[in-house]
Amino acid sequence: MSSTLKSVARQLRAVWMLLLVGVILSIASPVFLTSTNLLNVGLATSVVALLAIGQTYIIILAEIDLSVGATLGFSSVVTALVLRDHGLLPALAAGLGVGAAVGLVNGLLVTRARMPSFIATLAMMSILSGMTLQLTDGNPVTIGDYDFQGIGQDYLAGIPVPVWVMVAGYAVFGVLLARTGFGRFVYATGDNLEAARLSGIRTRRVKVLAFVITGLLAALGGFILTARLSTAEPTAGTGLELESIAAVIIGGTSLAGGRGKLLGTLVGALVLGVIDNGMNLLDVSPFLQSVVKGVVILLAVFLDRNVDALRSMVAWRRPPLPSDPSTPDAVPASSPVPAARHTP
């Protein structure tokens, strides 16, 4: 099987999960399959889906970004404050600038200060959420600007602008990842850092760039969230880091790096969105919602992993770990690079 075919099959697994959930829901609720409801799912998914784009880049690079939610919150508040005082364009520039700056700092902490991304971005999350509250004194910042609100509330050709933004984001960054030299560098760096370096790839630059992209997309997600609510909440984005990581993993990207497709992430984000939507439609007890969500995530990833194992058992290649199949690509695993240095 060619690599392309296989990767499609991998994505298809997430798609199957989406279809499965979709079919169950369309039987259970007559509303589910209406176009308005599906657009609502798209709308509700858009922010997480945008964050998950950057997170996919980061995870393919074998890193992780726990600060995306806090970046979204911080840049939202900055955007709203600048919008209030200086108007639309400066506000958008400021928001994106803040997102890029946070990404840059994350990237430098990881590549230059040699910190594990898990802890660097965790600390960054703490710092940013404090700064956001400090900046606004804990109060939301109301948005009066109609143009800005349009980013979240307008429709184009019957489809909400956030859905367009999401689709555009996936198109642009999907092509960037799959079809450009930079995208290949991302895969290569995540797959084998040392080899990438020795092949002449500027791996640190690649990583920093990916963090900056992630920051920019978090800012973009912040615009949408802020515009939808007509207000920038200082607590906006809380918890979205884990949600975005879940979307990436459900989408079939491996936390070990080097593998994954952006389309899978979109499907992963939609799976999560559909579950939320369905549980609301069916009025599932709020207590049980998180149980159901957890179970569906387990199921999705379990299927993903074990179809893998099954397939490779019948295929020409050796199974990942013939006799001890414990977490072939669990996070975190020691990298091949430290291994390399053990042999003089």
Binding site: S29, V31, T34, T36, N37, N40, L43, A44, L133, D137, G138, N139, P140, T142, Q153, L225, R228, L229, S230, T231, E233, P234, T235, A236, T238, D276, N277, N280, L281, L282, D283, P286, F287, Q289
Partner: protein, 314 residues
């Protein structure tokens, strides 16, 4: 007795030492309501000559307890707590009791322990008030939706309890959906959007706080249902007052957080000054509808809380 070996025991109560310091432990500060309580408290502290330190428990029972323990070992003059939950606050109160440090509580009443005073809005009553207001506005019949707060937290549980008990007394009102949105505006927007898919023709919505009410309102607006569906919230934050004023929201059970903060600190000042204070003071929320929103805004400005008054009403 437990905790008596805490070395802070034997510390003299504030009134004897002339210690005019107090630590205020907020259950959270990530929410405009509580931020406003803090602001009210600070403004009053300046007036009453209390040296006030405001701390944030981040909705964590154990953080709240740790903060209380730290404050007690600092030997503050008085401890003011805004319990994360009424059960878990007991431990803090008892520790302060053992250390002879006067404790005030507000918003939620600790289940046991000795308080110098308790000042609070009654969360169960708040839920009841909202239920009554919503029922009345609907002519006591119709279909409604309840949006709950962060489950497992005291306010969410109590407001929901009050609301459900009271709404049950209106037999012609039917709750078609009950979902949680964690007191979060963005979550409420998505939850309400989804609910409107399943139930496009509801008559009313109760959101357990105004943040969620604003989220729900955004969802209603996108379906052009704002003003048509009766929306009742809780707290009386500025955005909600503005929405009530422009008719997109029916009512909010306003519990001026600023006034609460002021009240608490002024009572603390009395306690520290050795004056006698009432053991319990329950503040009643004020149902703010379009008819009295201007008056309520004037009241807020009057107490020095113009920050919580929307521009349109200033």
């Amino acid at each position: 007795s437990r905790g008596s070996q805490n070395a802070a025991s034997g510390a003299s109560p504030g009134k004897a030492s002339g210690n005019k310091s107090a630590t205020l432990i907020m259950s959270t500060l990530n929410n405009p309501f509580f931020v406003s309580v803090g602001n009210g408290a600070r403004s009053q502290a300046a007036k009453s000559g209390v040296k006030l330190s405001v701390q944030n428990a981040n909705n964590s029972d154990s953080t709240a307890l740790n903060l209380a323990t730290t404050a007690i070992s600092k030997q503050v003059g008085a401890l003011i707590i805004d319990p994360v939950s009424s059960t878990s606050a007991t431990a803090s109160v008892k520790q302060a009791n053992n250390a002879n440090i006067p404790v005030m509580a507000f918003d939620r009443k600790p289940d046991s322990g000795t308080l110098s005073s308790f000042i609070g809005y009654d969360a169960i009553q708040a839920g009841r008030n909202a239920a009554d207001a919503l029922a009345k506005s609907l002519g006591e019949k119709g279909t409604i939706v309840e949006i709950q707060g962060l489950l497992g937290t005291n306010v969410a549980q109590d407001r929901s309890k009050g609301f459900e008990e009271e709404i049950a007394t209106y037999p012609k009102i039917k709750t078609v959906a009950k979902q949680a949105a964690d007191f979060d505006r963005a979550k409420a927007l998505d939850v309400m959007t989804n609910i409107l898919q399943a139930h496009p023709s509801i008559d009313g919505v109760y959101a357990a706080n105004d943040e969620m009410a604003m989220g729900a309102l955004a969802a209603l607006k996108s379906r052009s249902l704002a003003g048509k569906v009766r929306l009742v919230g809780n707290d009386g934050i500025a955005d909600a007052l503005a929405a009530v004023q422009d008719g997109t929201m029916y009512a909010t059970n306003a519990e001026s957080p600023y006034a609460l903060g002021q009240k608490v600190v002024s009572l603390t000042g009395n306690v520290l000054g050795g004056k006698k204070v009432a053991a319990e003071e329950t503040l009643q929320g004020k149902l703010v509808t379009k008819s009295n929103v201007k008056a309520y805004a004037r009241y807020l400005v009057g107490i020095g809380d113009s920050a919580d008054v929307p521009a349109a009403l200033r």
